[in-house]
């Protein structure tokens, strides 16, 4: 069998009895943890140090949209393990279907990220002027909405809006947010290319369970990094007082 031959080819001698490639991948993932930790710490320290009149996390984040993209990435991890399980059992058709699903789900996640970045760059703040006069409603407005409302809500105007883009140059929140999520998105994009290459290679009989295992470890790693980013950056970011 094509897959069985490959399985024998990948057996190598090592003093630990473990694959050197897999050992190296785990060492890389451990070091990549430090890379993302530095970016997350930098974001946390700087996210609140912004000039007045520029967007803060609570002005731009959309938790429902990010929750959906988080769900998409979690499901891509499921399809990844199912692909690995199928290849281990030499079920090539199932392996290819699940691997293609992972690629599509990964691309969908990147699509969400592009949509989000585009939304931030073209962000517009809207204020209902009547909310400024109502204390309970005013409490729910962000500082930026109150500032814009106070400046623009004149007699007879019901609603005002102002374009307040969030770009890496606007404030420290923008710089650290785009750097952190941009690097994560870069990791996901690299993973998509890697998985798609394995899919193409599988038609030439060159994919082994070890090859896929290495890519799967990388893919799950970008998923766990996002689990942390989703909580720390998005949920904590919008929470008032954090």
């Amino acid at each position: 069998m094509e897959s069985e031959n490959n399985h024998h080819e990948e057996q190598e001698h090592s003093s630990t009895g473990l694959s050197h490639k897999k050992l190296l991948m785990w060492a890389f993932l451990g070091s990549d943890c430090m890379f993302f930790a530095a970016l997350i710490a930098t974001y946390l320290v700087n996210m609140g140090n912004n000039p007045a009149g520029t967007p803060f996390p609570e002005d731009v984040f959309s938790i429902p949209v990010t929750s959906v993209s988080t769900f998409v990435l979690l499901m891509s991890s499921l399809s990844m393990v199912l692909s690995y399980a199928a290849l281990s059992q030499n079920r090539m058709k199932a392996f290819r279907i699940w691997l293609l699903s992972t690629v599509i789900l990964g691309a969908t996640f990147v699509g969400f990220q592009i949509f989000e970045f585009n939304d931030f760059v073209n962000h517009e703040v809207e204020v209902h002027c009547s909310d400024l006069a109502n204390d309970s409603k005013k409490e729910r407005l962000t500082d930026l909405q109150i500032k814009i409302g106070t400046e623009k809500c004149l007699d007879g105007i019901d609603e005002v809006s102002e374009k307040v883009p969030l770009t890496p140059q606007v404030n420290l929140f923008g710089s650290t947010f785009f750097t952190l999520t941009g690097f994560h998105g870069g990791h996901v994009t690299f993973g998509i290319i890697w998985l798609f290459s394995l899919l193409l290679y599988s038609f030439r009989g060159k994919v082994t369970p070890l090859n896929l295992d290495l890519a799967a470890l990388y893919w799950h790693f970008v998923d766990i990094v996002w689990i942390i980013i989703f909580t720390v950056v998005y949920l904590f970011g919008v929470f008032p007082g954090y």
Binding site: L23, M34, V45, L82, F236
Partner: protein, 109 residues
């Protein structure tokens, strides 16, 4: 390259056979989805106030652990892999906390 010894091959095969079944992978995915839904739900419960920070942190660590243990197979693979990854993770956590302490993040809360 020389072939592995029988024991080594058996070890790898035993590890592969110990990996979860497809149905278990689906159950883990269901648990991860439910935890994510709970996270988002909790976020909108205003009466929890600052209590959401430890709750969300625990839920997030739970998801993280499930993925590395079952999807990345650390529960079933060699302890050496766990050691390598955990070393990086502990160093990473130390880097985060040190940076936040050095830059007075905790005092500014």
């Amino acid at each position: 390259m020389s072939k592995k010894t029988t024991n080594e091959v058996n070890e790898v095969e035993t590890q592969e056979h110990n990996h979860p079944t497809a149905s278990k992978y689906f159950i883990i995915a269901l648990i991860l989805s439910v935890i994510t839904a709970i996270e988002v739900g909790i976020f909108y419960l205003e009466f929890l106030s600052y209590a959401i920070i430890p709750i969300l942190s625990v839920l997030s660590i739970g998801k993280f652990t499930l993925v590395i243990m079952y999807y990345m197979h650390l529960k079933f693979d060699s302890k050496l892999f766990s050691g390598l990854f955990l070393t990086g993770l502990i160093l990473a956590s130390s880097v985060t906390i040190t940076l936040m302490v050095l830059l007075n993040w905790f005092q500014s809360r």
